[in-house]
Symmetry: C2
């Protein structure tokens, strides 16, 4: 008996693959408009690629094992270490800024909760070698244009942006010592959901006035005022202004509670959420100017984001923006008698050579049954060939949507059908 | 320090990714013309999915391990068992024949020889639910049209076809008992390369007359005669005739030495090789009518093939049919002074919204340096914006290939550039 697949891993039969293909296609089209080039790395990597970045704690969440050559290996849980290795190996010869993207499948052994997946596909876009604020605006703009590419607008998705440098400076003004910053960052990361954030800070011997200051700093009521305090002369202020000039102002929410858990971010941080906040984050990213150097690769400033296929797919389905299941063929070619099959084979391949998607019956069947198959495939057109048609050098062309039929000269069929199908892909409901 | 990748695994920086993307694109386009729909499954599967099909011997060649939930798992070495599971789960509701394809990355832990890879991508096309000979012709035709899609012709690639039923019957006529057929199949599989095939048969106590008969049967000198002996009334003969009628006759070499090692093939078997025979097989496949049922899935006749990206990529490079490294952008937008940057941002995003691939400098640079970057990206066009241009509502449009420059009204730029770029993609050498 055939075993089931592993829990947390998805099969993609064609009806599910269509959504994945749509997501990948939009990702690729939008990335190309920003001059980003696609790369990929191996899904299996040396384990130390990940422990070097994240410490040994990460191992508990990985699919790691010892291979038959006694190497410690792991299925990739993220793309950045592979990117660092690839860029490190060739950064000297490359024109900066480097604009690279990838769509790796990533793996984590998470204890399974309510259908939580152990794999997903994640768009990774990274901009390497530029320290200035326009780079921050450019990478955030790219994440927004990804949303626009799917038909989503600022009423569907919000971009919550902050800056760790801005936040550090604000905390310093509250009298919080630099050594306490990581702990307060952690508390702020949870401040929306969890009043225990206050407890954490008090337990760390911050006084109540300071803790109240942190709450005031992150209070939504004070956000507009705080935003006005960000000078255009700062990196963060310049990046926010550039996003306005690019036309993305109405997507942006300045939000000082966005710190992102990962320790390596050095400046701008941002996350995209559905506007109703019913789903997990669609996208997260930020500036990581010291990471590539610390991993032993090229010492270059960089920033980027990751955008998974799962939450995005849920949002698209929720908004009715997923692709409908389309036709798998354009034309079905049917033989009336076995003597017509030779002609069906020849004609079908002429039509395929013209770029049409073509199917024909692979065994002897009544025409009615062949047309049933044509309908099941969603074919717009059927070509029926019988002995009388062949004698006249014609074929019968049926429009399966409009239920019409006409005789067409055999020799003009391919060009006639190509133009018909190109039209119908634009005008029929499931084209 | 960043560790290297694992031996046998490829990085795909953009210059290498381009060939992979080209191969995938042609595979998808041609598969669509045959009405094939794309699916995918998990790269990690339960180990017993593979041992059920291939026995415990297969484990020595797998990337297998015990996951953190104590499951025996393996990176997929082939796609057929996953396909069997997915089809088995939904075959009842599906219209036959099922036409499915996939492009999985596959993994084998092979002892490394001369750069032999441990992963590759493999196009898998399968046609399920049709026992008749037109199905055999259709799947072989699909493999040939894949070659044509890459610009390869019958002078580049040969399709070597045989039929296990035909061969079994020929061996029976030589007086070889059915029980000996597998051993003789194995010997024939090696007969081209290895005279020791004779020794194997003699050691198995076949007499010299019979062994001589096997050699005569597989002798290239007798092939045309043998081909003529195949009746059009047989399944194999009907499939070969259909390939002629489809227009693929000149690709086909009937070759009784093609048996394919895998035990589960039940009829037609075929392999595609480069005509010079300097490379390994490009593609291999055949009919496997009992496999899906024996794996506990749907008991349906089926046939299919696998085509890897590695040998095919070598052949395309050898023939100069790989894509040249193209431009990563269409248009570069340059600011003359810092005061022009706001306009550059606005205009760049208008051009991106028009579908153009656009880049601009992310920091303040002299125009000359910006144009260097434009050239490095392969841009055909540059738009230069200075204070005087802005005052006149114009921009300077430079053609970087033909070294021309003209002033264009700002408002008409997007449509003007779109048409220029669409032209130039057809006419410039690296478009």
């Amino acid at each position: 008996m055939i075993s089931k697949g592993l829990p947390g891993f998805r099969d993609f039969p064609p009806e599910d693959f269509a959504l994945r293909a749509h997501i990948f296609r939009v990702w690729r089209e939008v990335a190309a408009r920003y001059g980003f080039e696609e790369y990929d790395g191996p899904p299996l990597e040396p384990l130390d690629l990940y422990t070097a970045k994240s410490g040994d704690e990460i191992v508990g969440q990985l699919y790691n094992f010892v291979d038959k050559g006694d190497r410690q290996v792991a299925l990739r849980p993220e793309m950045t270490p592979t990117l660092a290795r690839m860029v490190g190996a060739r950064a000297n010869g490359m024109k900066k800024p480097i604009r690279w993207f990838s769509i790796p499948q990533l793996f984590r052994y998470e204890r399974q909760q309510r259908g939580r997946l152990r794999e997903h596909f994640q768009l990774n876009c990274d901009l390497i070698g530029e320290a200035g604020p326009l780079a921050d605006a450019e990478i955030i703009a790219l994440s927004i244009d990804m949303m626009r590419g799917f038909g989503l607008g600022p009423q569907d998705v919000r971009v919550r942006v902050s800056d760790r440098l801005f936040l550090s400076s604000a905390l310093r003004q509250l009298g919080i010592a630099d050594a306490m910053t990581p702990l307060v960052f952690q508390a702020i990361d949870r401040i929306e959901k969890n009043a225990a954030a206050a407890r954490e800070m008090l337990d760390a011997h911050l006084d109540t006035v300071t803790v109240a200051g942190v709450f005031r700093l992150t209070d939504p009521a004070h956000r507009a005022e705080l935003r006005r305090s960000i000078s255009a002369a700062t990196h963060f202020g310049a990046a926010l202004n550039a996003l306005d000039e690019m036309g993305f102002g109405e997507w942006i929410d300045f939000d000082p509670t966005i710190v992102r858990g990962l320790a390596y971010y050095t400046g701008t941080v941002f996350e995209l959420f559905d506007a109703k906040r019913t789903l997990r984050a669609i996208c997260g990213g930020g500036r990581y100017d010291t990471l590539l150097g610390s991993l032993g690769g090229a010492d270059l400033p960089a920033l980027g984001f990751g955008m998974g296929d799962v939450v995005l797919g849920e949002l698209l389905k929720d908004r009715g923006l997923h692709p409908s299941v389309g036709a798998s063929i354009d034309v079905f070619v049917a033989a009336v008698t076995p003597a017509d099959v030779e002609h069906v084979l020849k004609l079908s391949h002429e039509l395929r050579d013209a770029g049409l998607r073509v199917e024909f019956a692979l065994n002897t069947q009544a025409v009615g049954k062949q047309l049933n198959l044509a309908n099941a495939r969603g074919a717009r057109l059927a070509v029926v060939i019988g002995p009388d048609d062949r004698a006249r050098g014609e074929v019968q062309l049926k429009d399966l949507v409009y239920k019409t039929q006409e005789a067409i000269t055999d020799s003009s069929l391919a060009s006639h059908l190509s133009s018909l199908v190109n039209d119908s892909r634009l005008t029929t409901p499931n084209g």
